[in-house]
Assembly symmetry: C2
Homo-oligomer: 373 residues x 2
């Protein structure tokens, strides 16, 4: 069997985003041992870089050795125990995944539903807290990858704290793309992914746990149901003084890639990265408007890094995406759940958030849809 030679794609789907050659080169550096003193030094840098990206001083800020869904599961299995009640906001696909996580722990999810494409309604969340005293945590998605909606994470965290609950935040698509301030907003536990606005390859999930979350972890009555994701064990490897104790073998080369992506983020500056994502979104939006294409989401809740475009009547979803991929080597995303075949998702995340990417996808869409730009 021959080696696999992937094509060059312009990745404008919901993730992975394009990975720069600088990060790809970092991946290809020689593998060293996961207990090598030089590797341990790199781990310390990586934690500092992640604290920069999350804007937090949380000591427990580490990359989970698996994709974003495992980061989500890390937050739930470490903080929630059987019998707990969790308010889960669902305004897209990933709220549903949170519910699955709560159920599989033997805890009770109280669902707060909003339509796909709408932001989370704070009033509904406040009502859910009033109707359910003693809620352990509020869980919500900051930037819904399935709909392109931003919810008010700061206000939601405040609401959680007013009711003595922990705030668990999905920042898979927000980290590095839009303002996110873990300490200032009082986020208790947060997870993200490497393959969105950080533009590293998929496979790692940065998480950060604040003081209240660490206290909850220490006060558990039962063991964490996952050995692999048990943060009390993971910490001994990532936070030990001097010699780290072995938990599992870290994904060495993937961590080189994440480190490099965060070095690049620091070089650019977090606020500059947010501004770049905003600018390229506006460039895209202008072009879409010229072609008569509408965005699904109200202006004030739109994610600049994930644009959900309404598919015009009479246009066949799959045929367009196929043509973009086959003729232009551009990947855009399909709608999920109730939005399947109703929207396209155009991601402008990380290295993919670039004026050239915007111009290429606009030109290709104009050609495929036969709409002048």
């Amino acid at each position: 069997m021959p080696s696999f030679m992937p094509p060059e794609r312009l990745l404008l789907g919901p993730g992975p985003s394009n990975v720069s050659s600088r990060i790809l080169q970092a991946l290809a550096r020689p593998t060293i041992g996961h207990l090598d003193p030089q590797f341990v030094g790199m781990m310390d840098e990586l934690k500092a870089l992640l604290r920069y990206a999350f804007i937090t001083e949380n000591p427990l800020t580490v990359p989970v050795s698996a994709p974003g869904s495992a980061g989500m599961e890390t937050c739930f299995v470490n903080l929630i125990e059987a019998g707990d009640t969790v308010i889960v906001c669902q305004n897209g696909v990933f709220g549903g995944r949170m519910k699955e996580n709560v159920l599989r722990i033997g805890a009770t999810p109280v669902m707060v539903q909003d339509d796909f494409g709408k932001a989370i309604d704070l009033n509904k969340v406040a009502e859910a807290f009033k109707a359910n005293p003693g809620v352990k945590a509020l869980a919500f998605v900051h930037a819904e990858t399935s709909t392109g909606v931003e919810s008010d994470a700061q206000a939601l965290c405040q609401l959680a704290h007013e009711h003595g609950a922990l705030a668990i935040v999905d920042a898979v698509t927000s980290l590095g793309g839009i303002p996110l301030r873990v300490d200032a907003w009082g986020v208790d536990a947060i997870y993200s992914g490497s393959q969105k606005c950080l533009s590293a390859p998929p496979g790692l999930s940065p998480v950060s746990f604040g003081e209240r979350a660490v206290a909850a972890l220490k006060a558990r009555k039962t063991p964490v149901q996952s050995w692999f994701l048990d943060l009390s064990l993971v910490m001994a490897y990532w936070q030990g003084e001097g010699a780290r104790s072995y938990h599992h073998t870290a994904p060495i080369n993937m961590l080189y890639g994440l480190h490099e992506s965060l070095v690049m983020l620091q070089e650019e500056g977090l606020e500059a990265a947010w501004a770049r994502h905003r600018r390229n979104h506006e460039r895209l939006h202008d072009g879409l408007q010229r072609m008569g294409l509408e965005l699904l989401v109200d202006e004030r809740h739109r994610l600049p890094q994930l644009n959900t475009v309404c598919i015009p009547e009479g246009v066949e979803d799959l045929a367009v995406r196929r043509q973009l991929l086959d003729q232009h080597s551009i990947e855009i995303g399909a709608g999920l759940g109730s939005l399947a075949s109703k929207i396209w998702r155009i991601g402008l995340m990380g290295a993919s958030s670039h004026p050239d990417s915007v111009d290429r996808v606009l030109a290709a869409l104009s050609q495929v849809l036969k709409r002048p730009l």
Copy 2:
């Protein structure tokens, strides 16, 4: 913060082993989407290559998107339910980790203990089956990375089937290094790691489930406690006809690396790889004997890919390993658990199983220990 530039190491510890430049180059190929038809084609090749390595026709043969410990957890959480009884053989550190997995499911582990450094005693296992009717599974480590011992996997699988139990096999260190025949031996569920004898970077865990295991999965009364590791969901991505349904974002570039490592294994041939591991072990053993160093394990149970060397009296473990690392850039492994500071672990796995590696570590040990070679 500057980019991280790892040193060049000769990796002769318990894993990761050295990753060839061909595999490192594969890692650095352009990232594409996890639903891209070209990527889906690569996934099919990867499954075929894994079936070759495991010597199995099992359709459910896929890499779990996380390191070996997550592969272990995948086997346990999918096959075992609360209330089940599992016989767990422990003759090293990894049997203890299996016990933890069983406990966290709410199942009962029946431990069969053998000394660290000894093979699993079949008689004790047979007695455990007699004393515990209705056991759901027998779990054991084929090649104990913590002690350098091979156990008789074929006989253990047979014993499990005689008692109507499933055989769950840890092949983290055995796959690609010593004979392992999943179908011929009747293994029901097996997991391995990418970073041992396959010589890919750490971060992926190939698993294979046979017919009986798939039947057990389908007959579950309760949901799998991990959403991320639920094989019924993972399968829809890896085995769907035509369009695959999205479960989690696959670690694209890591999968390029695993694919390349398996292409290389197929080029060399599985039996040739086993013979190479055997030859280099003998070369190492000859040299160790000339220096008056003894192996811990009886000849008939020795793993060629993981050599446990007794530390001579008066020699300080850590000082020697430090000197090897700092002066010779060679990593060897420490003892774990009851063998800490009593043994060194010299891995000759994958690309690290090479006559030059053997000669380098022997020369370095001779110099550091001041023993003529």
